[in-house]
Symmetry: C2
Subunit: 254 residues, 2 copies
Amino acid sequence: MASVGVSEALLLEQSWAPVCLGGLQLLAKSCFKDTAYRLLLSDMQFVWEEEMNTAAIQERAQVNQSGQELNRRLRAPVSAFFTHLCEVACPRLAGADSAEFSSLQCSQDRLDIRLKSELAGVPFYWEFRCTPASVAVVCSHFVRPLLAVSMVLQRQVGELGTLLARKDTEIQDYKESGAELSRARLKTEVFDEQSYRETFITQAWCDCCEIPWQDQQRAHSLSLLSLMQHVSSLLFRPLREEYRFGFLAQKKAH
Amino acid sequence: MASVGVSEALLLEQSWAPVCLGGLQLLAKSCFKDTAYRLLLSDMQFVWEEEMNTAAIQERAQVNQSGQELNRRLRAPVSAFFTHLCEVACPRLAGADSAEFSSLQCSQDRLDIRLKSELAGVPFYWEFRCTPASVAVVCSHFVRPLLAVSMVLQRQVGELGTLLARKDTEIQDYKESGAELSRARLKTEVFDEQSYRETFITQAWCDCCEIPWQDQQRAHSLSLLSLMQHVSSLLFRPLREEYRFGFLAQKKAH
């Protein structure tokens, strides 16, 4: 039953999900496996994490932070209530409705969240007790995927701009041959990449003031988080290898 | 002469720049002002920082980490050699050639970089001694600007795809009216957003394996870093205000 914990590679394959836990708007990433879990949470100001193995899960199931019993009548083996914990927590940490969560503490140094559910007709409590993640974790799960995604999107914008210019050249040629549109509303303006970039960026900055995974921007945000997950899972392992070797090579040079 | 240090707002207005310092490929962001400086450096695995005020600069100018004298014959007032330090360090921390730097130590916990120059005909040494940045700093200077930039770029991709579809409709109408191109090479393929996204993403992931601010991708990367700086400087202050209030409101709720 002993677990060795959840590997970094497994967690990198997971997607960030926008969640609301105990009134806190957060991004969550989690992996529950073999009576162990890892959880990352961020409000974009701070990033917290928790890593729990079988023994730690077993212990916490009974005793809470105040030293009192968390689940007084719990006699189930860890595998049984871990299965239950997964069933309750996983969908909610992936963005489903999460009324069962309440936040106990939220500061730079600590994020404690309580989950209340029912196991075999008896109340079952769990507490996620997260501490600050390391910068290395933030770089792996946020900075590098976001940089890669931004690079891809930026290239796409450039390439689509070039395609639009080619369409305009084609349209211009039709016009010069005397062709006319059957319906005036089909006419498009010539695409001016420079001015488009300028006006669009000005408008878009305003949208960015909002926390992007709420409300009207949710669909866009989910798509972005999915792109990040693609980058992480498909490319991070080779990237990390290469990068690590590059990094070590640099260090060895001195 | 006393300085209160460099404010976070000032540093947020600076752009990240790809630099090579003592053989290390890094991103650098710095602000030198009023005989004080702040420096952020990252290899995308870790992020280090140093914040120095007037008194600390004065003291370090003479004594190095081993307790020996860094600049034995330095008698200049701090304002004089700080001006010199700016002149030498600033362009190099913004991406100019930087042969004057050598790295003394690079680990998760420490990044020490030595700068050698000449002041009034005498060798002048400086050591930047950076320690790990906090996650809050990484979120402010990397995660949030990158998220905002990604959101903007993603919207641009969507909008340009829509424009391309409209161009195709216009072209189709010309064709249906019997128009023909004067030169066949002007013909473009109908834009298929779905398949474009799929093939492009597959190709682009491969490019992302490279450290993006080197070599052939440098121009794209600089443009991306400039976008990040735009976001940081134009929007971060209102965003941070709003966000902080939102965050506090959330916390107060419990």
